[in-house]
Every structure is written in C-alpha cells, then in structure tokens.
C-alpha cells in the first residue's frame, strides 16, 4: 500500500505541473499590461519600466514561468497587485475559513445522504422510496445561493435566531453548513441507493438470506458495507465540489475565506493572487482524491494496491 501511495503521490507532480502551465500561460495571455496596472494610471514611463524590471515582467514568458516555479518551490507565490502582501500569506490566512466551511458541510451531509439512500433502497418502489428520491432531486436542483439567501431571510431577518454573516459563534455555522451540504447530501442519497440496490442483487446477499440470516444483518452487515465502496468514490468527488461551493457560501455569508478572496481578486484583476488560488484549489482537489483512493483499502481489504 505504501508503494502505491508513493506512486500516486508522484503522479501528482506531472499533473500539477500541467495545471501550473495552463494557469500561468492563460493568465499571461490576457490583454493588458500588469506593470501599468501596478504603477497606477498617473505613473510615468520610467516608473512603469522600473516596476517591469522589479517584477521581471520584461523577461520572456518562458523565463517568467521558470522564475515563478522556482519561487513556488520555496513557497513564494509573488505579491498581490492590490495590497502588495505576499500571496502565500494571504491564502494561508484565509484557508482556515474555507476548510471550516468544508468541514461544516461534511459533518452532516454524507451521513444523512447515505442514510436516505439506504432507506430508499430497502423500501424500493414504495412511497418512502419515492419521497426520499424526490427529496434528493429537489436538493440537487436547489441553487445554493437561493437556499442561503432564503435561510438568511427566514432565520436571521424574520426570526432573529441565527446571524446573517460571519463564523463567530456556532450559530454562524448553521446556515453556511446547510448551503454547503445540501448538494452533497442529495448526490450521495442517489448514489448510495443505486449502489445498495446493486449489492442487494449479489450472490452473497442471497446466500445470507438463504441460510436464514436476520434481514437487518443482511442489509447492514452484508449489503450496506459493500455498497459503501462505490459511495466513497463519489464522496471524494463531492468533497472536492465543496471547495467550489465555498465560493458561493463565502459570498452570501460574508466569510473571508479563499473563495471570497478569489472573487475579489477577479474583480481587481489581481493576477498573482488568482494564479496562486487556482493552484491551491487544484492541489487540494487532487489531494482529496488521493486520500479517497487510499480510503478504499480501509473499507475494502480485497482491493490490492499494486
């Protein structure tokens, strides 16, 4: 397993390299002169030239890329055009909020989603199944920003039970975690239902029933445990999806996380920050997928990593 882990970890390197090339060159294809933006509208030609020199913007783009990558390996992603703060520091200080949101989402959504899916599979074709699946597809179709705004209107404005912004107390987490988790809950309910139905058709389930095993044990010990393998894959992809959900959630609830920073930087065209954030988002997603792959081994010892 450790060999497989190292191999997978090494595979991330070329993928991240390609991503960095994509991000870097696309950002540099954008029309406009970052040196002029940095110097301000009233700057003289000399001042613009000085900035170009200082940031290495007069070098060929390939050289600029290698410089960027060299600095990146030292944890230096350049400085923000807007605040002149190091990008690495800016992202580091915001990351905790995004991770807190992601955590608040995973805390309840997968459990509820898998629970609904399994119940639907057990009661397949009956009213409970239809209700559960309708609930899931409803959750899948409701835009997060709409749910968030309605939540604020009802629970913050009208009832005054929860704050409308910030993560200062536990109450502040309730609405954001609802927005973050709804989609994941819905997707997992759908997948765990079909995965459970598939496992219920397996021979070992029939054998378990034939030998007179209690239905409850058949469902949970034989079927449910095995159906989890597929569900974990989807869960991994969904947790990655939560990272993007945080962009919307942070905007609605005014939370100063990475997503909010990305939006602000896009409006200001703060390229070094955009570049850094895109790299970090991609890296997080790739790492999450790696962790999920590793989890397979824990859930299903049959899987051998070669």
């Amino acid at each position: 397993m450790s060999r497989y882990f190292i191999k997978r970890l090494l595979q991330i390197i070329p993928l991240m390299l390609i991503i960095s090339i994509f991000v870097f060159f696309f950002i540099h294809m954008i029309p406009g002169d970052p040196a002029k933006t940095l110097a301000g509208v009233e700057a003289s030609v000399e001042e613009v030239e000085a900035i170009r020199e200082e940031f290495g913007l007069n070098k060929p783009i390939i050289v600029q890329y290698f410089d960027y990558m060299k600095n990146l390996l030292h944890g230096d992603m350049g400085r923000s055009l807007k605040s002149n703060l190091p990008v690495t520091e800016m992202i580091a200080s915001r990351m905790q909020y995004t991770l807190r949101l992601v955590f608040a989402g995973i805390l309840w959504a997968p459990v509820l989603g898998i629970f609904i899916g399994v119940i639907c599979a057990i009661y397949r074709g009956r009213a409970l199944d239809h209700a559960g699946m309708l609930f899931a597809i409803t959750g899948l179709s409701a835009p997060g920003f709409w749910l968030g705004l309605m939540g604020i209107e009802i629970f913050a404005v009208r009832l005054g039970w929860l704050p409308s912004a910030g993560l200062d107390t536990w109450k502040g987490y309730v609405l954001p975690s609802l927005v973050m988790g709804t989609g994941i809950m819905a997707v997992l309910a759908r997948y765990s239902r079909s995965s459970m139905l598939e496992t219920l058709r397996e021979d070992y389930v029939r054998t378990a029933r034939a030998k007179g095993q209690k239905e409850f044990i058949v469902m949970f010990s034989h079927a449910f445990k095995n159906s989890l393998i597929q569900v974990v894959t989807i869960l991994g992809l969904q947790i990655g999806g939560l990272l993007s959900g945080s962009v919307i959630t942070e905007t609605i609830f005014s939370i100063p996380g990475m997503g909010r920073l990305l939006i602000d930087s896009i409006f200001y065209r703060d390229y070094p920050v955009i570049q850094g954030l895109l790299m970090i988002f991609a890296l997080q997603y790739v790492l999450i997928n790696l962790i999920v792959d590793m989890l397979y081994g824990v859930i299903n010892p049959k899987i051998r990593y070669d």
Partner: protein, 306 residues
C-alpha cells in the same frame, strides 16, 4: 427428430415461410412507440418535460406576453410585494419582476443551452477521436480532461471567468469549457465499447474509411449515453451560469438574467424578500425540470440502473 405433428408441419415449410416473418423485422416506429410508452409511465419525468416545453415557449414569446415593459422604471412602485397588478412584485427600480423573469428566460436558457450544445459537440468529437485512435490523441485528450477536472464543479467555470474576465460571452465560454471534459470522458469509454463490436469490425474489414466508420457506424452506437449526459448537463449548466451571474461575473446588472436578478436582491433582503424567493424559485423549477427529465430518460434508455 421432429415427432410432434406441429414440428412435422414446420419442417415441410420452405425456409422463407419458416424463418422470415414480416412482423418481426426491426420496426423503428414500434421501437419509438415502445420508448414513448415506457417514458410516459414516469410521471415525474413527464412533468419535467412539460415544464421544459413551457419554458422553451416562454423563451420564444416571453417578451411579447410580458404584462409590463421589463426595463421600465416605476418609482412610485419600488420594492412592492406581490399583488394583483404585479404578480411577483417589483424590484428596487419598480420594474415588474414577473415581466423580467419572462423576458429573461431567453437569456438564461439561451446561454446555458448553447454552451452545453457547443461543449457537448466538442467533447463528443474529442472523445470519439480519443477512443478510436488511442495513442497520443487519447493521451492528450484525457490528460487535458484531467487538468480541467482538477477544478471541481463550477470552480472551473469561475477559473475561466477569472482568466477571461466578467461578461455574458465569457460565461458562455466558461460553461462550455466546463462541459467539454465530461462528454470527452463518457464518449471515449462508449467509443471503446462500440469499437470492439462485431459490426464495426465487419465495416472495417470491408474497407470502410476512418471518418465514415467513426461518424456513421460508431457514433450512432454511443448516442444513448450522449443524450442522457446532455440532459443532465443542462441542469448543471443553468446552475453554473446563474451562479456566475449571482457572483457578478455574468450578465449585465440591467439584463433580466435570473441569477443577476437574485444577486441584486441581496441588498433588499430586509425590505423585499420576494425579490429573493421568486426568481430563485424559477431557477430551481427549471433545474429540477431538466434533472427529472434527464433521470427519466436515463431510466428509460438504460433500464439496468433503476
């Protein structure tokens, strides 16, 4: 061997009489009928289709049947709640929200549909080529998809807007690019499956050219998975496009795009909650309709998953 009188009689008949039965020739129209019959049994999918038809009609005639000019300011009626005169109330400029939703249907649906159509076409061609030729083409297509997939969900669309800058055309491009990899992957695997089937081998041995083989013989075999993915992606495209508009990257604030309307409603949450509820509800119903329709299509076309 044929002892029974019936079999005796059968063997006396000529080959044509025995084995060629006009009635069992693959009848396209009866297959369509069968499909429609199966599909009509799925009530929620039919409801979804009905909503889609209504939405398409509104997209075409919406601006003509709108009770008010969607852009007309009415300073006497600002932020008015729903009433007989204004069914969905008015916004901060006194514009009739119902009329704006009707007029905005074309923009919202148009951007999402066209980006999915173009993205699906591109992804399909790439997937077909990757699956058919393998080798370098496959590697390039699949690795590029991996890179695009490293940005989960709408984060990819946000990343593209981050690079291109805000604007409705850029939202179209972003959603289109965000659609391509999923089609490329699905079409590649369907192509691989169809490629190894007997009829393709026969066509190949008869000297069929690559282009004809790909588009006349292989492509029709993959069309089912294409259709299902297509319908499923429209829902997520509408969600992505309206999320981008909500974040302020998409339609102009003066345009009646649904996500943009919701974005403006944030500032009036305390005084005019109807500005949040109703446009959001319309987005929700639209996405739900496409998802229900897509689910129904998938279940009808692919009865394996049920």
């Amino acid at each position: 061997m044929s002892n029974t009188p019936k079999e005796q009689e059968k063997s006396n008949l000529s080959f044509e009489e025995n084995y060629i039965d006009e009635n069992i020739i693959a009848d396209k129209s009866s297959r369509t009928k069968e499909f429609i019959k199966k599909f009509m049994k799925r009530k929620t999918a039919v409801a979804g289709l009905a909503v889609i038809v209504i939405l398409v009609i509104i997209a075409i005639i919406g601006e003509y049947i709108a009770p008010y000019d969607p852009a007309a300011y009415d300073y006497d009626n600002m932020l008015a709640g729903p009433s007989a005169a204004h069914w969905f109330g008015t916004d901060h400029y006194g514009r009739d929200i119902f009329s704006r939703i009707l007029a905005g249907t074309r923009l919202t649906l148009g951007v999402s549909l066209s980006s999915v159509i173009v993205g699906a076409a591109l992804g399909t061609v790439l997937g077909l080529l990757a699956g058919y030729y393998g080798g370098v083409i496959e590697m390039l297509v699949m690795r590029s998809s991996d890179v695009l997939f490293s940005f989960p969900d709408i984060l990819l669309a946000i990343a593209i807007v981050a690079i291109l800058g805000p604007g409705i055309i850029n939202v179209f491009i972003a959603v289109m690019v965000f659609t391509v990899p999923s089609f490329a992957r699905i079409m590649r695997s369907s192509t691989l499956a169809v490629k190894s089937s007997l009829y393709v081998e026969v066509a190949q041995s008869l000297g069929c050219k690559d282009g004809r083989l790909l588009f006349v013989h292989i492509f029709p075999g993959t069309i089912q998975s294409l259709i299902v993915n297509f319908t499923m992606r429209i829902g997520s495209a509408i969600m992505a496009a309206s999320s981008l508009s909500f974040l302020g990257f998409g339609a102009n604030v003066t345009d009646p795009e649904w996500g943009a309307m919701l974005s403006q409603s944030r500032s009036y949450l305390n005084v005019a909650p109807h500005m949040v509820y109703l446009p959001g509800l319309v987005i929700f119903i639209t996405v739900l309709a496409f998802n229900l329709f897509g689910d129904g299509l998938r279940d009808t076309l692919d009865p394996k998953i049920k």
